[in-house]
Amino acid sequence: MSTQDHSKNRTECGSDAAPQKEALSQGAPAPLNRRRFLVQGTHGVGFLALGSLVSGGWTTPGNAAVNRFAYDVERFSTTDPKFLVYDRAGGFPIPDPAPRRIVFSKEGQLYVAGKRGVSVLDRSGGLIRLIEAGAPVRCVAVDGNGQVYAGVRDHVEVFDPAGRRVRRWEAPSKKAWLTGLAVSKADVFLADSGSRLIWRCDLEGKIIGKIGEKNPERNVPGLILPSPYLDVKVGGDGLLRVNNSGRHRIEVYTADGDLELFWGKPSAAIEGFCGCCNPVGLALLADGRHITCEKGLPRVKRYAADGTFEGVVAGPESFPKNAQAGKARDSEDGTMGGLDAAVDARGWVYVLDLVAAEVQVYQPKGAV
């Protein structure tokens, strides 16, 4: 019976099929039966799923989303090539996980202050010797006789040229936090971030003056140091260059503490000093021009003796690790990364990257 019924149905359907075929041939859509509906529906769902995967719609929304609250300094993270006045000439790692300051000796050896002590290196980074001070060294200076002055948080350790300890100077104050050192023929200058001033000492460590302390009568505004990066350098003219980072400027003092001039302005643009407190490091060329180092946007720049911006030694793109905010937070040291620089007799700039623990060497464009 059923077979007969089916055949009957087929016959009946067949009887209606002729108009349908005619309609199809005329371009009308075919009617959907259940099976075709399910097959097409499955295809549709499959395509949707594939599309979602390709577009990333199935990834975690929070991780994939763009941060609409981003702190945008991207436009300052690359340097316009027209400002670059130096070429990179090489580089080498520092044998210290936490270097802080770098200087050249008169003989052309590099002295790097760091967690392990003072690393004495040749120009290609080869370790000549390590001077251990018993604690992290935060700053270093070398006098004309090769005597080494190492700033160990609140006091100075003095070593002979062979690295033997000669004496220890007492802390100049209870708040002392030494972050910079410079030495002239008769004086040693201690940059004390904790006391916010420069101590002037004789070669025996006796304090003979204070520089940079707020003094309205002498028209000295005082040093503003939101973070411990106070540095000091002595120029060939005998004047001191001090980075007053909270005021975003370089101040020039006599050894007696008179403020002679200052220059610098806050700006994330290339000619200014960025962030809350920059520059964090200083070096002087033989002709009196300045090399400045900044943190946050790690960049090294050159300024004329009067503070006119001349060009860039290296921009943030040269220090990718250093440019990552907060990567170098050191609660023991109070530092947040940054750079320091030293200049050799040829005028080449050796940039110390505090985060990457390496030195990058830059030569003036056109130098042979």
Binding site: G62, L225, S227, G246, C277, A325
Partner: protein, 189 residues
């Protein structure tokens, strides 16, 4: 000699069931005692952000189940430089160092700037306005001392079993901490 059979005595079904019931009862009692003991210690856990792991991704502002995030910026004043040009307060390139909205970084004006003495300013967070976006935290961490940082505020957090922010935290900074020590604060050296 014959009475000491090498085979163990056979266990009847009744004995098996009785012994089984005893074991189950003892196990159940042990479980109850253990549960009571754990409750009695009062060890509860809450969510918190490790500020050293936080990467300021912005997800805290957008993924909390609360309409306004329970994550807020907090300020470690002992670390603050009281800067005139606070990079947590000002846009990266402000027109002027004043409180004009065009110069301010915070999208909800949740940071108050108060003059202390030349050239120092104090910055305080209005938690009712703060949405935990971390824009100021990034500015402070990048250029300054990192005195601004994010924390889950427990007067607001509903302590979800699976925190919605922790699931998307880009720095894996969310962690469970004891409720009696609910904050991970930054300190000075």
């Amino acid at each position: 000699m014959n009475s000491s059979s090498p085979h163990p005595p056979s266990v009847s079904r009744r004995q098996f069931l009785r012994d089984g019931a005893r074991v189950a009862a003892v196990a159940g009692l042990g479980g109850l005692v253990g549960l009571a003991a754990s409750r009695s210690t009062g060890k509860e856990w809450v969510w918190q952000i490790d500020p050293d792991k936080c990467v300021r991704c912005g997800n805290c502002a957008t993924h909390c189940v609360l309409e306004q995030s329970a994550v807020k910026c907090v300020h470690a004043y002992a670390l603050c430089g009281y800067c005139q040009l606070c990079t947590g307060y000002f846009e990266p390139e402000p027109n002027a160092l004043n409180t004009g909205a065009e110069n301010c970084l915070c999208p909800t004006a949740a940071i108050q700037r108060t003059f202390v003495e030349d050239p120092y300013y104090e910055y305080t967070i209005d938690e009712n306005l703060c949405i935990g976006c971390a824009k100021c935290v990034e500015g402070c961490t990048r250029f300054g001392n990192g005195s601004l940082f994010l924390q889950v505020r427990h007067d607001r957090c509903v302590n979800c079993n699976e925190c919605a922010i922790s699931k998307v935290c880009a720095g894996d900074a969310f962690q469970r901490v004891p409720a009696d020590q609910p904050y991970l604060l930054k300190t000075t050296h």
